[in-house]
Chain length 334, copies 2
DNA sequence: CTATTTTACGAAACCGGTTTCGTAAATAAA
DNA sequence: TTTATTTACGAAACCGGTTTCGTAAAATAG
């Protein structure tokens, strides 16, 4: 059992309330008494129980990050951004991994209605609908902010990148390099971000006179092997693919693996480009052209917004922040 | 304000204690009453406040992971391993990033004595002494388990890899490939793991008749640019370096960058090998030979141990788990 | 010097659960 | 039928803080 405020009160023959007030530096307490209390608290190495007071003022100084996975450079950098703000504000970060399971995500959110955290930052998993009732209800109970992967139709704050524009630019880049038979590797379920990226892709194709854009979109699986298989089949088909866009990081890696397996040379046979935050993209064979999202900044922006909401300084329902991605041209699209 | 047990009691004209017991399926309550309570709780979407009861039975179902950073494949995979166990046990995971700052780590640990979490899994940052008093004291207050980077002299559980042996093997591998002028890139401060790895390296050199092993150890900086600079200088020195071992992942990446900058060919001019969990090591130019730690399993083992401790089924002071690393030979050491 | 205000502190309620203990009613044992 | 034991529930204390409110003593005003 740790040191409590009552132990200090007893030792000093003071009332608990006096000690509590002294520690909170209340004007009701004399400087002399405060000194005594602080000194004794320090001697006993008193650390207040965070959840005791939390009951009364219903605030835990905990926030939750809910995301598909942590072994992904975008997400881990976003966590860094969030953590940088949280640490500065004296908040604690709880991490919840959904592993791209809608069911798991929903049960986690259900649990978070309990008051374990004061607010939530979330990047939804595949399979979550854009008007998810679970997310909508949670957003009414406590501050909820979407970052990157959002539920468009849930009325709360969103922190995004310019996915449509970035994808349009990336596609144009491939076209300018001479690609005509470009494949857009899509994720299994409709993620908000890949929807945007696909739209940008299709618009670019259309604007450059490439017909039947839909034919260029390939649905991949969540299962790694299955997905790898799909990509290989596509690369081997008759009308030769000369460009590939990976809509998420994983697919870029799989594309490289698939090209190696099919004996295709990047960028000679096929040019590859991906949405990815891999720091070592430049060290790959060959260096990979990437659309890099400002992951750290997005996390930071989302967290900053959350703390504003906790201070009731903003109405989350109308907040929407869009940060720009950057295209890094490298050898894979030379 | 959420739904409380008192609200349910009032609605049903029962005592709070009755509702509490009913919800916990106490034998003191009749099946009929339980049914009523459960039904009403469900209708009201009651979610118990986790910290209310936590006051009485001093348990939060929260555990903390304290680590240097999350944007690192070893750590993010370890988190996955920990999370897999925690989720299964119904525990919640708090993540604390130290960013390799001893001061920050210590202040975090100090805060964790408050009862915010039931136990701690930690991989210490550089600069933490092997007999850190802060860590030792915390280990007395609540279950603390070191994983990977440990404080040898703090008497509590440790989950490690066979760093000495793995490094010995890795060095032998380089020697067998003809390397004589092998450089061991060490981290700035003495981490337990790099100490072990350095020892294994030196032992292998000695066993193969290479004198003055210490001359082969190069201290790198925590600062990325500074470290890169150091590596480049080493690569350019007169008695040509023909092998490099990166003791941590970051250094491997920097070595690649440095070789590119110096115009050195891997593996022709210099063979490179690193302790790294990068999944895409095989896609680098050239594919990197790595010593891979069982990150996920280590996290899992550490978490499992923690839950055993929470169930008072083990004495952490004597626990020590060592898992094997695996050497993946690739082109960088061909 | 009395009346009023301020200062400094204590008693107790409260937050939302859990747990102990007491007890009326129902059931079983004698 | 009387006594002993269960059964099913309620009252209240408790966990460790915060906060409200009441009040002696000290300071200030009149």
């Amino acid at each position: 059992m740790g040191i409590t405020i009552r132990k200090i009160a007893k030792d000093l023959k003071l009332a608990v309330s006096t000690v509590s007030k002294a520690l909170r530096d209340s004007h009701e307490i004399s400087d002399e008494t405060k000194r005594l209390v602080f000194e004794h608290a320090r001697k006993l190495q008193y650390v207040p129980n965070p959840y005791a007071g939390s009951l009364k003022n219903r605030t835990t100084r905990n926030i939750a990050i809910v995301l598909p996975e942590v072994a992904d450079t975008f997400f881990s950098n976003a966590i860094n951004g969030i953590d940088s703000v949280a640490q500065a504000k004296g908040y604690h970060v709880m991490v919840y991994l959904t592993h791209e399971s809608r069911e798991r995500e929903e049960s986690i959110l259900e649990e978070l209605r309990s008051g374990r955290v004061d607010g939530i930052l979330i990047s939804v998993s595949v399979g979550v609908k854009r008007d998810s009732a679970v997310h909508a209800r949670l957003a009414q109970d406590l501050p909820l902010i979407f970052f990157d992967r959002v539920c468009d139709e849930v009325a709360t704050a969103k922190v995004l990148t310019d996915d449509f524009e970035a994808s349009y630019k990336a596609t144009t880049h491939l076209i300018s390099k001479g690609c005509r038979e470009i494949i857009f590797l899509d994720t299994a379920a409709g993620l908000s971000i890949t929807d945007q990226r696909r739209s940008g892709f299709l618009k670019a194709l259309a604007d450059h006179g490439i017909k039947n854009g839909d034919r260029h979109v390939v649905q991949c699986s969540e299962d790694e092997n299955e997905s790898l298989d799909t990509i290989q089949k596509v690369l081997r088909r008759k009308n030769k693919v000369d460009g590939v866009i990976g809509s998420v990081e994983k697919l870029a890696i799989q594309t490289y693996t698939a090209c190696h397996a099919c004996g295709l040379s990047i960028p000679r046979d096929v040019k590859v480009l991906a949405f990815s935050n891999l720091q070592i993209a430049a060290l790959l064979a060959p260096p990979l052209t990437t659309v890099v999202q400002p992951a750290f900044e997005m996390g930071k922006a989302a967290a900053t917004l959350l703390f504003k909401a906790l201070a009731r300084k903003v109405d989350l329902r109308t907040e929407r922040i869009v940060l720009p991605s950057v295209l890094h041209e490298r050898e894979s699209t030379q």
